[in-house]
């Protein structure tokens, strides 16, 4: 071992002084990656990231054999030249269940790039806070395949999430999937050719607006699923969205909940509480416009004591539901019901009629389930609470929309406003 005491030169001190003062004023380091070697360098910078780093990606297509990951470092921005211009391609991926996996980052902006052909989920953002996902594209380029990744844009267990101007296509589950999160804004996105276009699941306090879903099997979903750490979703405002022609095939492998979605579904709400759905356009679906269901209708068991399998306080009003025209799907069990018990007719609005015990008032109206002012629509209540077999449904179904004609007071979703104000 050699030990030497360096002679300190005045010039060195000067340089150091400049260096330190530069660090102080420019806390947020801007890192501009070159085209050459980007596939290696991007992961290196994600590993060695310092708080406040802004990583800029040039235009071009970059191949990755391994999934990319970022953990723990706060206030990180990854910005490309724009979706479709900066393309991170995982076509040759041999490792990693995601294209890009981000975990436990407070302050995250992902903007302006495409993630293509990841073997699993495209971009997973797990346990993060203050997340902006903007102008991103996720896609699988070989078309609708059951071997495509499940989720496209996938924030989960995260708080304060803004997703805007993104595009997601060809996911074999949901193009945009927000799971078990809190304070979420999803707006101005386009989702197409996925199994499910956009899905909000077990999420609390969200606004979903100005999104377009086309050519998926199911356009948009708001689900609560059982046995998850965040047991129930709550308070979602859902407005000014367009669901159009979501008649694509359901190419999800059997066993996934999403594989039970009948092609030709505009919007499905399941087991959720406090949804206000208004001013949406739902058109040209071959099976159903909007469905309001209970988890119990799936027949899949669950265990959680906390989980509420029923829809409560669902207010669907002032939507335009048109051209729900059939013939309905015959590839899923749910779709087949339309043929076996509904004479092959598609419906603008359908409910399984499985409501929380005790919510029926004296006149048989389900308190808190309100379908109001949606125009002249076709409607069926399967009344499956009285029995979920096809014969029982055929016997018990009715078309009485009037018992649902009520209004609900608006609820407050403004919890995210302070954070959002800084990210407009």
């Amino acid at each position: 071992m050699q030990i030497s005491i360096p002679r300190v030169h005045h010039g060195v001190i000067l340089v150091l002084a400049i260096f330190f003062s530069a660090c102080k004023t420019a806390d947020d380091a801007q890192i501009v990656l070159a085209v050459d070697g980007l596939s290696q360098e991007l992961q290196r910078h994600l590993i060695e990231a310092k708080e406040g780093d802004e990583i800029y990606l040039p235009e071009g297509t970059f191949e990755f054999k391994r999934g990319l990951s970022l953990n723990d470092t706060p206030n990180i921005t990854i910005k490309g030249a724009g979706k479709g211009k900066t393309v991170l391609s995982f076509k040759g991926q041999i490792e990693g269940a995601e294209g890009l996996l981000i975990k436990n980052v407070i302050g995250l902006t992902l903007e302006g790039f495409t993630v293509a052909d990841s073997k699993g989920d495209a971009i997973k953002v797990h346990e993060c806070q203050n997340v902006v996902m903007r102008d991103l594209e996720v896609t699988w380029t070989d078309g609708k395949k059951s071997t495509n990744g499940a989720y496209g844009l996938y924030p989960v267990s995260s708080t304060n999430v803004l997703m805007e101007k993104c595009e997601a296509s060809y996911a074999m589950d949901a193009g945009i999937y927000v799971g078990q999160s809190r304070n979420v804004i999803v707006r101005d996105n386009v989702v197409h050719n996925n199994v499910a276009g956009l899905e909000i699941e077990n999420t609390i306090n969200g606004e979903v607006y100005n999104n377009i879903a086309r050519n998926n099997a199911g356009g948009m979903l708001i689900f609560d699923m059982p046995d998850l750490p965040q047991a129930n979703g709550d308070k979602i405002k859902f407005y000014d969205n367009v669901m159009e022609n979501n008649n694509g095939e359901n190419f999800a492998p059997e066993g996934m909940v999403v594989s039970t979605i009948p092609p030709g579904s505009g919007m499905i709400i399941m087991s959720h509480s406090n949804i206000e759905m208004y001013n949406n356009t739902i058109k040209s679906h071959k099976t159903l416009g909007i469905a309001v269901n209970s988890w119990l209708f799936t027949g899949v068991p669950y265990k959680s004591e906390e989980f509420d399998p029923y829809c409560t306080n669902i207010y669907i009003h002032d939507n335009q539901i048109t051209d729900t025209s059939g013939p309905p799907d015959s590839t899923t069990e749910y779709g087949q019901l339309f043929t076996t018990v509904l004479n092959g007719k598609a419906y603008d609005l359908v409910t399984d009629g499985i409501f929380k015990p005790g919510i029926l008032d004296d006149e048989g109206r389900p308190t808190g389930i309100c379908f109001h002012n949606n125009g002249d629509i076709s409607f069926v209540n399967l009344n499956a609470g009285k029995g979920a077999g096809p014969e029982e449904i055929a016997r018990n179904l009715d078309h009485d929309l009037s018992i649902f004609d009520c209004t609900l007071a608006p609820f407050d979703t403004s919890e995210h406003n302070a954070w959002l104000a800084g990210n407009q």
């Binding site: 992961q43 073997k119 699993g120 499940a150 589950d173 046995d227 492998p253 209708f297 979920a388």
Partner: protein, 395 residues
């Protein structure tokens, strides 16, 4: 700097002398009399002389050394992995499967320190503890004398708040291993115990990936060295002893309960001494439990795969999947008692598609023997007994 161990005035002395950071840390980790030498004028001459008889104490720097050899974990030829003084080899009752790689594990703790005995989680190791794990493939599993190829060495160093993970990649000559945050892909070939020629693009993980397994509550932690996993015999150079006894002897364990009734997890591949159920649970615990626990990376799945997990829904029995993606293989439940072929768990263990397989990282090959064990366990589950008493459905 915040993570630095308390070292009294030594650090400031290093600063005063204007020594590079690495060297200052040498002071801290070496023995005390070396520090004293530095207080005497003309120290460097003396130090040069001292070096010949005590340079080899283990050194733990704040930033990773460039080369593995600089830590002095091993003496003699590095690739012999002959441990230095106070560096103890150990192994586990049931290890994580890593593409059939074999692992040589070692532990080192700073002088005068020891780990606190606990059975709740991994041992409470003292600050500065190093866990050293070398990954290698024998040339031929049937004949160890043919040698081995060492690919990588992973270090976990306890910094207090969490552990740092450093990866070292061995050069082709196996003269040393070099720090590398990016990991690598290495082509390996070997002959397995059945005489089959095996080959693989072995993946050395990058630094961020360490955390995909080693995160507990988002803090990086060791997984293996729990009492129940260490409680086994190990053949040391001087004979075969129980590892816990040897750790105590070495002063590496304190507050050990005197009753000698230490828990022990089954050895997954020893049917002659361990029950099928215990072996299966031990296997799931080490291979899955680091993510599938309430504070692990896979907590969003609602699945708990720990050795102590109850035999119920949370273990996956009749549990429908939420976000398994391609991983369902067309099946509905994670485990269907009596029917491994209909169980998602088996499907995902049998897959080598990155989008479907489990575990998600750390393997590319299918662990046939592991699949066989879990399939046998599921096949032998009593279908009636295990039906969850509180399954809720409409009908």
């Amino acid at each position: 700097m915040a993570r630095r161990q308390s070292i009294g005035g030594l650090e400031s002395m290093g600063l005063l002398l204007n020594l590079p950071e690495k060297v200052r840390f040498v002071f801290m980790s070496g023995s005390n009399w070396i520090y004293l030498l530095f207080l005497i004028p003309g120290v460097s001459v003396l130090f040069q002389q001292c070096k010949t008889f005590n340079p080899e104490g283990v050194l733990i720097p704040e930033q990773p050394f460039e080369k593995l050899s600089e830590y002095h974990f091993f003496v003699g030829l590095l690739s012999d992995l002959k441990p230095n003084d106070r560096v103890l080899p150990y192994d586990l009752n049931t290890p994580l499967f890593s593409d059939y790689a074999e692992k040589a594990r070692f532990v080192w703790m700073p002088e005068e320190t020891s780990a606190l005995y606990t059975t709740d989680h991994v041992l409470d190791f003292p600050l500065g503890t190093a866990l050293i794990k070398n990954f290698y493939y024998p040339i031929d599993e049937r004949d160890p004398s043919l040698g081995r190829r060492i690919l990588e060495t992973r270090l976990l160093i306890n910094r207090g708040e969490e552990w740092d993970a450093y990866g070292y990649i061995w050069n082709e000559e196996e003269t040393d291993a070099y720090y590398d945050v990016l990991g690598d892909i290495k082509e390996v070939k070997w002959t397995n115990a059945a005489g089959e020629e095996m080959h693989l693009d072995y993946i050395i993980p990058n630094k961020n990936q360490c955390k995909s397994c080693h995160a507990y509550d988002n803090r990086q932690m060791p997984i293996g060295p729990k009492v129940r996993n260490l409680n086994k015999e190990f053949t040391y150079v001087d004979g075969t002893y129980n590892q816990l006894d040897r750790w105590m002897e070495a002063g590496y364990l304190n507050q050990v309960p005197s009753n000698n009734a230490h828990p022990s997890v089954a050895q997954w591949n020893r049917p002659e001494t361990h029950e099928l159920h215990d072996r299966a649970m031990a296997y799931l615990d080490i291979n899955c439990g680091h993510c599938h626990n309430p504070k692990g990376a896979a907590n969003t799945s609602g699945l708990t795969l720990l050795a102590e997990a109850p035999m119920d829904y949370s273990l996956g029995i009749y549990k429908a999947t939420v976000s398994a993606g391609a991983g369902t293989g067309g099946h509905t439940y994670n485990i269907v008692p009596g029917q491994p072929e209909k169980s998602i768990m088996i499907y995902r263990m049998q897959s080598d598609n990155p989008g479907a397989m489990m575990p998600e990282v750390g393997r590319r090959l299918i662990h046939k023997e592991g699949v066989q064990l879990i399939a046998e366990w599921i096949a032998n589950m009593d279908m009636e007994l295990l039906k969850p008493e509180k399954v809720k459905t409409l009908n």
